[in-house]
């Protein structure tokens, strides 16, 4: 469904030049959930934004459902974007529009007639179980609810692809589970090819079929999550191994004052 060929994205000029994505090629199968993981600054968000050309790559080609997006004019690209939904870490909802108006806006951009918009927006809201919040403003909703509204907004045009940029990084662990459950259900029931960028391996383990590990702008490793079932499986790269171990290990020096705790208690 998505094919990226030799993508390179460079920012700035001269001395300030910075290459966020280095010669990345990727093939994402129709209906799969593909994770992209890496640390901050690894280039994963830039790579995701390369897919819908929110960030144009400096070189390379992007194909979505057989169409080469990198070869399209502005207006043709806009048309293609109606088939590519996107959700963001900070939701990016319009604060001065209600949940329903936010969802309807996507239909408006897609040129759907007014009569149809209302019905379809409510339908999308009911997929994320928020039909009862249709007339609420984002400011009245919790983080998880806002993310679900933004999922409804992305889904309402019935896209083939859903791009998720750190969708759970701004919500608490319980909300993370709920958001991922919705994304997973939607993937199963609607068969939307989903790409999810995150720095949390737990998210990948919970939802992804395949994962690409990024470091310094390059995809250094790719594997299917099913291979984790095999106890002898081990990622090739150190960063891959680090990420799947997903444990916080600190280097803790021995305490200088042995009875520090007691001192504190006395104070």
């Amino acid at each position: 469904m998505i094919r990226l060929e030799n993508l390179t994205t460079t920012f700035g000029k001269g001395q300030d030049q910075f290459t966020a994505v280095k010669d990345v090629s990727l093939d994402i199968k129709t209906g799969s959930i593909h994770g992209i993981i890496g640390f901050s600054g690894a280039g994963k968000s830039t790579l995701l934004r390369n897919i819908n050309l929110l960030q144009r790559p400096t070189s390379g080609q992007v194909f979505v459902d057989g169409v080469e997006l990198t070869g399209l004019s502005e207006s043709e690209l806009r048309k293609q974007r109606h088939d590519i939904g996107m959700i963001f870490q900070h939701f990016n909802l319009l604060n001065n529009r209600t949940a329903q108006q936010n969802v309807e806006l996507n239909l408006k951009f897609a040129g759907v007639p007014k009569k149809e918009r209302r019905e379809r927006a409510l339908e999308a809201l009911s997929i994320v179980d928020l039909a009862d919040k249709a007339s609420a403003y984002p400011g009245q909703l919790s983080g998880g609810q806002k993310q679900r509204i933004s999922i409804a907004r992305a889904l309402v045009t019935e896209p083939k692809v859903l791009l998720c940029d750190e969708p759970t990084s701004a919500v608490d662990p319980r909300t993370t589970t709920s958001v991922l459950q919705y994304l997973s259900d939607i993937n199963t029931s609607l068969g939307i090819t989903t790409v999810i960028v995150t720095h949390e391996m737990n998210v990948i383990k919970a939802i992804a079929d395949n994962v690409s590990v990024m470091e310094d702008g390059a995809v250094v490793e790719e594997f299917a999550l099913s291979s984790l079932q095999d106890p002898s499986f081990e990622p090739i790269t150190p960063i891959g191994r680090y990420l799947i171990s997903d444990e916080i290990t600190l280097n803790r020096a021995p305490k200088q004052t042995p009875n520090l705790g007691a001192d504190v208690a006395r104070v």
């Binding site: 974007r81 996107m86 951009f109 897609a110 045009t157």
Partner: protein, 238 residues
């Protein structure tokens, strides 16, 4: 002394009388002055909104981080806006007299003041629009772009909607500032309540009359601010 008079202290230590009979006598003139002030604001402010909004959007769009960066053209228009903004209003009023004559056919009277007021207000409001829009952040713009919105749709359906509360506050600030600017209208015989205060209070030493005019201006500013704050708060759903 008359029952309808109140003695007030003035800056030079002499006493001024606040004479209600005198006020009644001048009442028709006060009404005319108020009407002139309203006329100035009711023409200048709406035109400034009508023309300043597209100019402000344009400044935002063409800026290096805007929707359609055109850094070189942006620099020229940006400079032009700054130039008009740097004229003290009194100087602008005189400097554009030929233009004023061309537009309204006269260089004196209320109509003649409306022209420089409007010329001053357009870039003034454009700056507000530009700032209010750039402060929205890139998130909503990106979301709209990802949804396949055109530039026009982003401006109409996203930026102006999100900036509405801030824009209403800006209109309020602009209106209050221009009540003050309108006081300089006297220079070209434009009238208005500020000019009334200057004529009677300053030139004719009728302190009582001036105080009344000032009270009227204070009430006007308070009313504008009250309505503006209400509207902005009602529009803000954050």
């Amino acid at each position: 002394m008359n029952f309808t008079s109140v003695v007030l202290a003035t800056s030079n230590g002499s006493a001024a009388t606040f004479n209600f009979d005198r006020i009644l006598e001048l009442a028709p003139e006060i009404w005319v002055a108020m009407a002139q002030t309203f006329a100035m604001l009711l023409v200048a402010i709406p035109i400034a909104i009508l023309l300043g909004t597209p100019l402000g959007i344009w400044l935002y769009s063409m800026s290096p981080n805007g929707l359609r960066p055109r850094p070189r053209v942006h620099r020229i228009v940006d400079g032009l806006v700054n130039t008009i903004r740097s004229f003290p209003f009194l100087i602008l009023l005189i400097a554009i007299i030929p233009f004023t004559r061309f537009v309204v056919g006269t260089t004196i009277g209320t109509a003649a003041v409306i022209v420089p007021l409007t010329i001053n207000a357009i870039p003034y409001f454009a700056r507000f629009v530009e700032q209010n829009i750039s402060q929205l952040g890139n998130g909503v713009v990106e979301a709209a772009q990802a949804m396949g919105a055109s530039r026009g749709q982003i401006i109409r359906e996203v930026l102006l909607v999100e900036a509405k509360p801030a824009l209403l506050s800006s209109i309020t600030i602009m209106t209050v500032s221009f009540i003050s600017y309108s006081a300089m209208a006297g220079l070209v015989g434009g009238g208005g309540i500020g000019d009334f205060a200057i004529r009677y209070g300053y030139y004719r030493y009728e302190t009582g009359v001036m105080l009344l005019a000032i009270v009227l201006m204070i009430l006007l500013v308070h009313a504008v601010q009250f309505i503006g704050t209400r509207l902005s708060r009602a529009a803000d759903k954050r």
